[in-house]
């Protein structure tokens, strides 16, 4: 059975595409070094529109007549007061632009104007090098370093110096544990159950908050905060898996990039932590087979969040204690206990 992998990797080559939603301008070139906050491209997304009905404004009967009088073309920029169309004669009637705008369409005697387009910029997201530029679309950024993939994010991103607050992977974050010395830092904590703790992180503010897990009733609050919040395990009181905890904690005081996007399997976007390192990274794979020797994380109760190694994939279908049927594997946990887990409940770690 071939499955996608979750990266908890100490040193790999990380490549990420940063793409504009529409054709726009790309500001970087191949080989250029970028930092996480560098804008690598931007696009002007459509703003509001105005529809000017020239036919009606000039009291004409046929759209064709109106179009003959429109002395403008699509793409043309206008200033407030510019003439869009006018009749001939000694006392011509005119139709003027009511705002600074651009003509985006002319049809049926109507002119569509676009005002105040919205600038949309994309940032590099982590410190690295541009390895490929897709003209008008975006670029590929590459770096070597630590990659830890999470499972949930509040759609914010930032970077900063890492501080390890959680002494253990399951320690609960409280308002009292956060103080002003952490302002501007990326903080690694354990579990968050109280809204107060998240509010304190936003008030300081932290640059980002990395959590093992969070109570699901905090989702609306976390989603409303501008401080990036990234969960490594998910919802419920789940301790951070030891591999992720040790790896992130061992990089304290390093610059950490936290992309707390939401996990979208269709696009491949996944919340992740990148810690660029000055060393050559290993190439990595995105899929793996569930075979003996594979390191896995258990996704479901009663061993949720525990890490182990597959020792045997049982042939055929087994009956679980609750009566359901599934293909299962024997998984040896880090304390050498061997447990039987359905293959669907295993997440391969690389």
């Amino acid at each position: 059975m071939i499955v996608p992998v979750t990266h908890i990797s100490p040193l790999i080559t990380i490549r990420r595409s940063r793409l504009l939603p529409e054709k726009g301008q790309v500001f970087v070139r191949a080989g250029q070094k970028v930092t996480a906050t560098d804008v690598i491209g931007e696009v002007l997304l459509p703003g509001d529109h105005l529809i000017v009905d020239v036919r009606r404004a000039l009291g004409l009967t046929r759209p064709g007549e109106a179009e003959k009088l429109i002395d403008r073309h699509t793409g043309e920029r206008l200033q407030k007061g510019d003439i869009i169309a006018e009749t001939s004669g000694i006392l011509p009637r005119v139709v003027r632009s009511s705002a600074d705008c651009q003509i985006v369409a002319i049809a049926n005697g109507q002119v569509v104007l676009e005002t105040t387009p919205v600038k949309h910029a994309i940032k590099a997201g982590f410190n690295g090098t541009v390895t490929e530029v897709m003209p008008e679309r975006g670029a590929v950024i590459e770096t070597n370093g630590v990659l830890v993939q999470g499972v949930w994010g509040n759609q914010q991103a930032d970077y900063g110096l890492l501080l390890v607050l959680a002494k253990t992977p399951d320690e609960e974050l409280t308002r009292g544990r956060l103080d002003v010395s952490m302002r501007g830092a990326v903080v690694l904590a354990g579990h968050a159950a109280q809204p107060d703790a998240l509010q304190a992180a936003a008030e300081l503010p932290l640059r980002a908050l990395i959590l093992a897990s969070m109570s699901a009733d905090l989702i609306p609050l976390a989603s409303s905060l501008s401080v990036p919040i990234l969960l490594i395990e998910g919802f419920g009181r789940i301790p951070m898996n030891d591999a992720a905890y040790q790896l992130i904690a061992s990089n304290e005081k390093r610059d950490v990039c936290v992309n707390a996007c939401s996990w979208n399997p269709l696009t491949g976007d996944r919340p992740e932590i990148i810690i660029p390192l000055p060393a050559a990274g290993l190439e990595t794979r995105e899929t793996a087979e569930l075979t003996p020797g594979t390191r896995v994380r258990i996704l479901n109760l009663p061993y949720q969040g525990r890490i182990g190694t597959i020792v045997y994939v049982r042939p055929g279908i087994a009956t679980l204690p609750n009566g359901l049927h599934a293909q299962v594997a024997n998984v040896q946990l880090e304390n050498d206990e061997v447990v039987v887990i359905p293959l669907q409940n295993l997440d391969v770690l690389e």
Binding site: V151, G236, E286, N300, N322
Partner: protein, 573 residues
């Protein structure tokens, strides 16, 4: 009886679901079409594969192992038709539910007429209406235009104008769509379906096709008081699959090898429910419930007329949407074990992150079963809003989907369906154990005999359910029942309001049941005074569900949990 099949053919159906891809093989054995084998693999539409063919390949390889028959050559190309050496299949078909929620904008004339019909048409596909505009919309044209642009639709549904009715007002809406398309980059333009006044069809297609792919369908509102969605549903279904072919990696290539264009799972499922509505009593409705990971489809067929209601609520990927529409107390009310609300919420949101996981403890299974009941309640209430006159008396109810087929005890599946759907009257409940209904719906256009012959073996008869409706107080006798088992015993019992009773009938056993309602109880909308009729025992025997409609659960949590346990014990013992 053996039927002679002159053009007998084997058929391989690839059923690409949100989480699982299945390869289903049908062939002729002893002169009859049979479902022979199935194999399953993870669907690979998403990261890091981005190509459904990986999952298809894995499922077909497994099918080859199971059947010993070769379906793909060494270059992984399908062998169609069957070769002289027996390799391959005569026909290859694809049915798919994979893909993100489609964004739909509906436009019409009157809000309560064509706009409402367009919105109902939209519920027949895996999508969501993100903007709706009618003639009563008082926003300025540019504001409407911006609203449509911000909605960023995949599909625009335009309806309106009864046959030989309004034309000028439709023209304004066409103008709006045309302007929207003009200012949208070509690659992002939506597909457009016009299903209004047919007098305008050709002209509208001519105008809009210059801007974006445009289809026309028969008028969904041919007159003010007549709605006919079915023909437009078919055209819309085809458009959806075209969008999917562009969205889902590998689907287009796969489609080039199939004997018919791929069909959406909900549409294929609905086709079979419509077929069943011809087979069963045309006066009653057939209800099909397909509970998938991302979507729940309710299909109601009556005398060949089909209503499809597809909701973005599911037992896995669709859990997040279902949670958004549910209070935690509602889900908790279906629990048979005590789980604190925080833990319940955490479990369900975690499951929405990892929808493919399966519950391994009794508690986790109880949570998922509770959530499914809630999803069925949400879906049933949505259906009720779509079909206000629906009386919830069905014959039969067909339950399908991974959740139902994985439950080890038939009584678990039946109770979940009864709790969630809450039907009234007399009807059989069938389980689509192997999830074949959609596949057979895909096969039907090229082979009408196969579904007929396979249908019977595809279903498990869970049993006849009698759900009387009564205003009586809890514990009041509402129904006298006499059960005469053919060549066997006779049982008499009195059913009280609030009870769930399993009649002692074995699977396949025939019996005559006599019903005498008491205290103004209505046994069935069409059989108000009971009477006697023949029934066949299912896997749960026959069941009288006198718990009340709507089913009111006790507020007291321990008592409520005890009742859930008692009801489950009744149907599983």
């Amino acid at each position: 009886m053996t039927t002679s099949l002159v053009d007998a053919e084997s058929i391989l159906v690839l059923d690409i679901g949100t989480l699982h891809t299945r390869a289903l093989f049908f062939d002729v054995v002893d002169g009859q079409y049979r479902f022979l084998a199935a194999a399953s693999a993870a669907t690979t539409a998403e990261a890091p594969f981005y190509d459904v063919r990986e999952g298809v390949h894995a499922a077909v390889l497994q099918l080859q192992e199971v059947t010993g028959r070769v379906f793909m050559d060494l270059e992984a190309r399908f062998i169609v038709p069957t070769q002289a050496n027996g390799d391959g299949a005569d026909r290859l078909l694809v049915v798919s539910s994979v893909g993100p929620e489609l964004r739909i904008v509906t436009l019409g004339l009157l809000d309560e007429v064509s706009v409402e019909s367009a919105n109902r048409l939209a519920t027949s596909i895996c999508g969501r209406v993100v903007e709706s505009i009618g003639l009563n919309d008082r926003r300025k044209p540019e504001v409407q235009m911006d609203a449509v642009l911000r909605a960023s639709p995949d599909l625009i549904l335009l309806a309106g104008g009864t046959e030989r009715g309004a034309t000028r007002s439709i023209g304004k809406l066409v103008e709006l769509i045309s302007l929207v398309c003009r200012v949208t980059p070509v690659e992002k333009r939506p597909q457009i379906l016009f299903a209004g006044n047919q007098v305008l069809s050709r002209k509208i297609k001519e105008i809009l096709e210059k801007q974006a792919p445009t289809q026309v369908a028969p008028n969904i509102r041919p007159s003010i008081d007549v709605e006919d969605l079915s023909p437009a549903q078919q055209v819309l279904g085809q458009m959806v699959m075209k969008i999917r072919e562009n969205q889902i990696g590998g689907l287009q290539t796969l489609a080039a090898t199939t004997n018919l264009p791929p069909i959406s799972t909900s549409q294929a499922f609905g086709r079979m429910i419509r077929f069943l509505s011809h087979v069963y009593d045309p006066q009653k409705s057939v209800l099909g419930v397909d509970l998938g990971s991302a979507w729940t489809t309710l299909a109601v067929g009556q005398g060949g007329k089909l209503t499809l209601d597809v909701l973005p609520h599911g037992s896995g990927r669709g859990l997040g949407k279902a949670l958004q529409h549910s209070r935690i107390e509602e889900i908790e009310s279906w629990l048979s074990v005590h789980v604190p609300q925080d833990e319940l919420r955490d479990y369900l949101y975690q499951k929405s992150i990892f929808p493919h996981t399966i519950p391994t403890t009794n508690e986790a299974l109880a949570i998922e079963q509770a959530m499914v009941r809630q999803i069925l309640r949400l879906s049933t209430m949505h259906l009720q809003a779509q079909l206000p006159g629906l009386n919830h008396s069905y014959e039969p109810i067909v339950i399908s989907g991974g959740f139902f087929s994985q439950l080890p005890l038939p009584g678990q599946a039946m109770l979940a369906a009864l709790d969630g759907i809450q039907p009234v009257g007399i009807g059989i409940m069938l389980r689509d154990t192997h999830g074949l209904l959609a596949a057979m719906g895909a096969i039907a256009p090229i082979n009408s005999i196969l579904p007929v012959q396979v249908l019977e073996s595809a279903f498990e008869n869970l049993g006849t359910v009698i759900s009387p409706v009564s205003d009586s107080r809890y514990g009041t006798p509402i129904l006298k029942v006499r059960l005469e088992i053919e060549q066997g015993e006779e049982f008499k019992l009195e059913v009280k309001q609030g009870a769930l009773v399993r009649l002692p009938l074995k699977a396949g056993q025939a019996a005559r049941i006599h019903l005498e309602p008491l205290n103004r109880t209505e046994v069935d909308p069409r059989r108000k005074n009971g009477g006697s009729f023949k029934i066949i025992g299912g896997l749960c025997g026959a069941v009288i569900d006198a718990r009340g409609r709507e089913l009111h659960l006790p507020d007291d949590a321990p008592r409520r949990r005890d009742m859930h346990k008692k009801w489950l014990a009744t149907l599983t013992s």
